[in-house]
């Protein structure tokens, strides 16, 4: 390969890492400005509790999403039971729902003034205490139900591609089904499990809406307290960097634990599934129904009821524009980000130097940074650049330069944040590609982009659709970056929900929230059906 051709891909990796890590660089720079005694105060009164709470939250969510995601993925991918085809895509539906909607639904149902406790008081007397979950339990439960689809989707991929051959071999050796699962099938899916749980955990670390709803103090709420309450953006940036540092350490630890294991596909696997006994099949179907009802059916019915109540008052022609904006931003950004993730994954696979791998890792850290902090961290340098250009070019050419008012900024900011989401399934799938297939292709004279198009892409097709789906849904619900970087007239449905909830108008907010779910439903169903084996 010529020097120029070798330099090209490397440059791409640097560029992507730079864009994605821009907010982190800004955070690093913030360490060089004084923060007026904020740290000692935070360290003494806020951080200990915040840190402890965050660890509980992360542990709880990681545990629950693993159990939910793995169990549901296994049943749907490898077992036959009534309704399997329906649950295959239906179990993804909770992803279309913004997390705080589920949280709010729970709160509305289970709070003191809600119907559940009201009924309890009717039965047990006015002063009877209701066993509540408390802020910690409520936050873990809500976030787990909202985030399990990440784990489910990615792990389902693993189970579907590895088939049940491993299980059959283990059963052949006399292992009971549960043991066979834990000894053979689960370890084979380990990188996928870790990828999915990492996404869920990073999303939960950066979450602000749900924990704010339950008044659960986490590291992220401490970050916002430092910024909004103590007027110290510097401290907020510094704390975000600490958060990202912790995430990085955790990811490196996982890498070290994984060691040198390789995960190749087991060869020709046909689409066979385990036939369950009637009792077990019924139990599995019941389990899936229960999860779907709690995570989706419940909040959906609430927002439908509230939407109908407020429809006449709320709905106007502006909604079509909002829906259009939401769709355009989500599809455009999702396509771009998936393409970049693909490019990045393939380049790093081709030249797996430590530098490339580290850069690619850094590029995905934006996901753990709280949304508003990332938005500011991205916007500030862009605005600074704009001012510089304005000073020199603007004076010369007489036109005003305002980089930050185009759509590019919002797309690039989305890239900084959501690259991790697209990168995860793509990287896991790339690991599956057998090296001998690539060697054979190269031997036939196919290389570079043609190799990508004719060899990688067909194999990666399911992972690409997974990535597209995940990023699309995430951006549809995204708020802080959209708020800060959107050009005039580009309000989205999520922005509309925010306007209403920020003034406490939760019932009116049900209509745009419902619109988000409806807009997201079609792609969720389409993409999840598309990924069926080609």
């Amino acid at each position: 390969m010529s020097r120029a051709a070798a330099a090209g891909p490397g440059l791409v990796v640097w560029l992507v890492a730079l864009i994605a890590a821009l907010p982190l660089l800004v955070a690093v720079l913030s360490f060089f400005s004084p923060s007026a005694g904020v740290w000692p105060h935070l360290a003494r009164y806020v951080l200990p509790q915040a840190l402890a709470n965050t660890i509980w939250l992360v542990a709880g969510v990681a545990f629950c999403t693993s159990i939910l995601g793995v169990s549901l993925a296994w049943f749907v991918a490898s077992c036959e039971f009534p309704g399997r085809r329906f649950f295959n895509w239906a179990l993804l539906l909770p992803m279309a729902m913004p997390g705080y909607v589920l949280g709010f639904a729970f709160a509305a149902l289970f709070e003191f003034t809600g119907p559940v406790q009201g009924a309890w008081r009717e039965i047990a007397g006015a002063s009877a205490l209701f066993p509540g979950l408390g802020p910690r339990g409520a936050s873990v439960a809500t976030l787990s139900l909202v985030l399990y689809p990440y784990v489910y989707l990615i792990v389902r991929e693993a189970f579907a591609s590895q088939g049940i051959r491993g299980m059959e071999v283990a059963r052949g050796f006399g292992y009971p089904p549960l043991q066979a699962f834990f000894k053979v099938s689960l370890p084979m899916a380990r990188p996928w499990l870790v990828a999915g749980v990492s996404l869920a955990v990073m999303e939960c670390l950066a979450d602000f809406g749900t924990v704010k709803l339950f008044n659960y103090t986490t590291f992220t709420t401490a970050i916002y307290r430092a910024w909004y309450g103590l007027f110290s953006l510097q401290s907020a940036l510094q704390l975000s960097l600490v958060l990202v540092g912790l995430v990085l350490m955790a990811l490196l630890l996982e890498r070290r634990l994984r060691g040198q294991s390789r995960y190749a596909p087991p060869g020709n696997t046909r689409q066979r599934r385990i036939a369950l006994t009637r009792g077990r099949a019924a139990a599995v179907a019941l389990y899936c129904t229960a999860i779907l009802t709690i995570a989706f059916g419940l909040p959906m019915s609430l927002i439908v009821i509230w939407s109908l109540e407020n429809f006449a008052a709320e709905f106007d022609t502006g909604y079509w524009q909002l829906a259009a904006n939401t769709l355009m931003l989500s599809t455009g950004a999702a396509s771009m980000i998936t393409a970049v993730a693909l490019l990045l994954g393939v380049i790093v696979r081709r030249v797996p130097s430590t530098l490339n791998r580290s850069l690619s890792r850094v590029a995905t850290l934006g996901y753990a940074v709280p949304g508003t902090v990332l938005a500011v961290g991205f916007f500030v340098p862009v605005a600074w650049l704009s001012r510089m250009l304005n000073q020199y070019l603007g004076a010369a050419t007489g036109t005003a330069v305002a980089l930050q008012s185009g759509l590019a900024v919002i797309f690039l900011a989305y890239l900084a944040r959501y690259l991790a989401v697209a990168h995860s399934p793509v990287e896991s799938a790339l690991q599956r590609i057998r090296p001998d297939v690539e060697e054979a292709a190269r031997g036939l004279g196919v290389s570079g982009l043609r190799l990508l198009g004719r060899v990688h892409l067909p194999i990666l097709r399911p992972a690409i659709f997974t990535a597209l789906l995940l990023v699309f849904v995430d951006i549809m619900k995204e708020l802080p970056i959209t708020l800060m970087t959107r050009p005039f007239g580009w309000d989205t449905l999520a922005v509309k929900v925010f306007q209403l909830t920020t003034e406490g108008e939760w019932h009116r907010a049900a209509l745009p929230a419902l619109a988000i779910v409806l807009v997201g439903l079609l792609p969720v169903i389409l993409l999840s059906r598309q990924r069926r084996r080609c």
Binding site: N215, T217, R461, L483
Partner: protein, 348 residues
């Protein structure tokens, strides 16, 4: 098998370039040239869209001047304004609390506006002494109580809620919300830190249950009997009262002798690098006039800042009250102290 994303990747690059360049040649007036009377006014607003749209629509209908606006939370909005510097398209900054206006002024994001009309329409304690910002509506944060269990004579003022007799009967909203931060900031300005810390510790000791994430739940909790007293913004109560006129909760106004009612403002100031400062000023002046004040306050059942304008009838039915005479800017000056105090006192 050729895949769509492959062709799409190559097609995407020119699209991205176009989007990027679309940001150049912005359509705001050059800061050097004079803005004409019909140039749009650009507003950065922390006040929600559904509240400001009727106001802006009315202004455009009356004067023909278009208004372009974008909304966001206050701090990101102010940081955006500061980062953009002289390239900012914003002419006016509109917020929903005084603390952030104070902060914006401190950071040099606003420019003074010299206007006799504004000075006569808006009382002195509701605007910046140097004319950097002006309050447009008043948000009162006061005590509400359960009419079945509490006699109004038992209530005095915010400090009084720290008294032992309210043990297990007080409901409060989270200290994360800026309204409570402003309240405590004003208490510090009035009584000093030591006394205020005692008060806040007393509040925390009296809590009936975990702090609430919003005022509406708080009022409903009082109605359901979970607690007897609480502190809320009056417009949340107005909304609930509109829905359920028989709600067994009522408003209590702390008397003037005890410091009066804590008020906050939703207000605006002209930005330092405004391209259309004249237009922004005209908009500000219009918003302080009677017609607009009625709209401004009436939309959300807040009180008009202009004392010559009457409040919404439902709100007026609660009777008159004495607002605290301190300049609302104190809410910003003492906000950081207030937050630290609340952290120390364990008020989450």
């Amino acid at each position: 098998m050729r895949q769509a994303p492959n062709a799409g990747q190559r097609g995407l690059l020119p699209v991205i370039l176009m989007l990027f360049l679309g940001g150049c040649g912005g359509d705001r007036p050059e800061s050097g040239t004079q803005a004409t009377a019909d140039d749009p006014v650009v507003v950065y607003s922390a006040r929600a869209e559904q509240l400001i749209r009727p106001i802006f629509d009315a202004y455009t209908a009356e004067t023909g001047v278009p208004i372009r606006y974008t909304t966001d939370s206050e701090q990101p909005l102010i940081q955006k304004l500061l980062a953009e510097g002289e390239t900012t398209p914003a002419d006016l900054l509109l917020t929903v609390d005084a603390g952030n206006l104070w902060y914006a002024a401190q950071q040099g994001a606003l420019r003074p506006t010299d206007s006799e009309l504004l000075e006569s329409n808006i009382p002195a304690h509701l605007r910046d002494p140097d004319g950097l910002w002006f309050g447009l509506s008043v948000r009162a944060r006061t005590i509400v109580y359960d009419t079945r269990d509490v006699d109004p004579s038992e209530l005095t003022d915010y400090k009084g809620l720290a008294d032992e007799k309210w043990r297990g009967k007080l409901c409060l909203r989270t200290s994360e919300k800026v309204y409570n931060q402003s309240l405590v900031a004003m208490l510090i300005a009035d009584y000093g830190e030591e006394q205020t810390e005692k008060t806040v510790r007393g509040w925390v000791a009296n809590l009936a249950t975990d702090v609430f994430s919003n005022d509406t739940s708080l009022i409903e909790a009082i109605a359901a009997g979970q607690c007897d007293v609480g502190i809320v913004n009056t417009y949340y109560f107005a909304r609930l009262q509109k829905e359920k006129p028989d709600i067994p909760v009522a408003i209590f106004w702390p008397a003037a002798e005890t410091g009066g009612v804590h008020v906050n403002i939703s207000g605006a100031g002209v930005t330092r690098h405004a391209g259309n400062a004249e237009g922004a000023r005209a908009l500000l002046e219009w918003m302080s006039s009677e017609a607009a004040q009625k709209l401004f306050g009436g939309e959300n059942m807040e009180y008009p800042a202009n004392p010559a304008v009457e409040a919404h009838p439902l709100v007026a039915a609660w009777g008159p009250f004495e607002p605290s005479p301190m300049n609302v800017a104190q809410a910003g000056a003492y906000q950081a102290d207030a937050v630290r105090l609340m952290d120390r006192a364990g008020y989450r």
